[in-house]
């Protein structure tokens, strides 16, 4: 049953070969996101492009595989920022956890993958619905509590949040709970792209000192470059320190499509035909 040497046991430091493979997966996922946005005329392109490395790193360190996707006792992954659904579907595709044909018909009537993440038989690896912000961390904490009640603190729950959803009080209700209960299996990864729906976070609702906030709620907090896959994997794989972990991953909204990087508009405007061409 135990797949790991120690609680949260790392699989060892990421090797350069792993990083190269990851870079190829992330590049493929980005191309997929762009084509999905273009084909479906879908919004949330910037939100999706910015979280590609985070999602790939989470899936890399989790035990989510085709063979385990339907298992009750396994790691759990929750994309709380459900509007980055395209990136999640693209990441799942890279790990063989969703039928690629479903991504070809994304958002067409009668298909199972919504514009915000929902539970579906088509992808049993998806652990939670999202779309309304501020729900995911509680859902992740519930899975972590379930693991604890089964004596499986070695299993892990990863929750990917947006920085904007840290405005939600319910996010901090969950953080308070996870910290107080020392849910060491829980890792929150904030896609800290510094832009929310209408303006920069600093102008709308400044989150700083952000890491201190998480620490004061009982989390171990780590800040890193959210596009540095090796750094993400290293932070995600570190042995547990007996408390939940928050990774503040600084990212560039719209990463990979220069014309939309770091713009508010990238939240709303779909990809253009020109974006499909390799840069």
């Amino acid at each position: 049953m135990a797949r790991r040497g120690s609680a949260h046991g790392p699989k060892g430091p990421p090797r350069s070969r792993d990083a190269e493979a990851a870079a190829a997966r992330c590049a493929a996922a980005r191309r997929r996101v762009i084509s999905m946005s273009y084909n479906a005329n879908s919004a949330h392109l910037g939100s999706s492009l910015g979280v590609v490395e985070i999602l790939d790193a989470v899936l890399a360190v989790s035990d989510l595989r085709q063979a385990t996707a339907r298992a009750a006792e396994r790691d759990r992954v929750i994309l709380s920022k459900g509007h980055a659904a395209m990136a999640y579907y693209a990441a799942l595709e890279q790990y063989g956890l969703v039928d690629p044909a479903l991504l070809d018909v994304y958002l067409q009537n009668g298909t199972p993958l919504w514009g915000h993440v929902g539970l579906t038989e088509a992808a049993p690896a998806i652990d939670a619905t999202s779309g309304s912000l501020g729900h995911g961390l509680s859902l992740a904490a519930g899975f972590a509590l379930g693991h604890r009640l089964r004596g499986r603190d070695d299993l892990r729950c990863f929750c990917i949040l947006s920085d904007g959803e840290c405005d939600e009080g319910s996010t901090w209700e969950a953080a308070l709970f996870a910290g107080a209960r020392k849910l060491s299996g829980l890792t929150a990864i904030v896609d800290y792209n510094h832009i929310q729906s209408l303006a920069p976070t600093k102008e709308v609702m400044d989150l700083e000192p952000f890491a201190d906030k998480w620490r004061s709620f009982g989390f171990e907090a780590i800040e890193l470059d959210g596009h540095d896959w090796a750094a993400l994997v290293a932070a995600l794989s570190r042995p547990s320190r007996g408390r939940p972990r928050a990774i503040l991953a600084h990212t560039v909204k719209g990463k990979g499509v220069a014309r939309i990087e770091n713009t508010v508009a990238s939240h709303y405007k779909p990809a253009l035909a020109a974006d499909l061409e390799p840069a």
Partner: protein, 314 residues
């Protein structure tokens, strides 16, 4: 009734290790035995209902049978979107326990009254709304929903309710006569059944025999079972909640579908927040939901009908 729901969960938990009880830091002098019995499966979630619901949803997804307990408005209105998305949309079989149905918490004030909870819960897809009127109905509701894969809301009054018994029912058949009578039908749910039985006693002293129909499961409304109890007599629906509550709606829909033109009166609480303090009985009286007021309404309906019938004959 609060004590009884805790006893039921405690008995259930002694044979089912999947039961987890979450409380929003409430239940003083009621939940302690459960804490003793459940150990780490009793979790005080603090005063944070939204988080409690999300956690409960994922516990259900993990194979547990979670209960989430608080005062009715706090476990419904406060965390409505978590119930909508995390429980109902994800189809998680969480049991929500809301104590303090209707005016139960009287003088504590409108913040603690539960007059819209049944309506907003009944508006959600697949959520079963149970509103037991006495301990026997609570037992039946609990048993009927034990292995139901749907989420459920138990709306629990503080009072235990009159001892009018209850037959075995399923959610589909949850409507029965708590009292027989041919002149007028009082259709009620929850604590209002006891109020209606007291009203029927007043009416009986005047020679008016009222049938009291209890509907302990409001959503999905047991329309066929309810329709089978209708006799053509006038119907007065009585519910300690606002207009548009699931009892009123269910009764009206059933009557309209029958098309027999029964006289119908909807007795509900005024859709406003009271300015002046009132205890439970006073608030019921002001709302016209106490036995005397219910009897007066029923009497007027019966007398009006008699006049109409005589007029038609003349």
């Amino acid at each position: 009734m609060r004590k009884r729901i805790i006893e039921l969960i405690e008995a259930d938990a002694s044979v089912d290790p999947r039961i987890v009880f979450l409380t929003g830091d409430l239940g003083f002098s009621f939940v302690e035995p459960l804490e003793q019995a459940l150990g780490e499966r009793f979790v005080n979630m603090g005063v944070a209902e939204a988080n409690m619901i999300g956690v409960a949803a994922s516990l259900a997804a993990s194979g547990f049978r979670p209960f989430a307990y608080s005062i009715a408005p706090f476990v419904t209105a406060r965390c409505f979107e978590q119930i909508r998305n995390d429980i109902c949309y994800q189809r998680r079989a969480v049991r929500l326990i809301g104590v303090g149905a209707g005016f139960s918490y009287g003088t504590l004030g409108p913040s603690h009254h539960a007059l819209e909870d049944a309506s907003i819960m009944a508006s959600l897809p697949d959520l079963v709304v149970a509103n037991p009127g006495n301990v026997a109905e609570l037992d039946r509701c609990y048993a009927a929903l034990l292995d139901d894969p749907r989420p459920a809301y138990f709306r629990i009054a503080r009072e235990s309710g009159a001892d009018y018994g209850a037959p075995i029912f399923s959610p589909q058949t949850a409507a029965f006569e708590a009292r027989r009578g041919a002149d007028v039908t009082l259709a009620a749910s929850g604590g209002s059944v006891t109020q209606c039985l007291a009203a029927a006693a007043i009416l009986a002293g005047e020679g008016i025999e009222a049938c009291v129909v209890s509907v302990p499961v409001l959503q999905p409304f047991p329309a066929d079972a309810f329709a089978a109890l209708l006799t053509g007599a006038p119907v007065v629906a009585v519910f300690e909640g606002y207009r548009g509550n699931p009892l009123s709606v269910g009764v009206m829909e059933t009557l309209l579908a029958r098309g027999r033109g029964e006289v119908f009166v909807d007795l509900v609480a005024p859709q406003s927040f009271p300015n002046l303090v009132g205890d439970t009985e006073t608030l019921r009286r002001r709302a016209g939901l106490d036995p005397t007021s219910i009897a007066a309404t029923a009497r007027a309906v019966v007398e009006t009908r008699s006049v109409r019938t005589l007029g038609a004959r003349a």
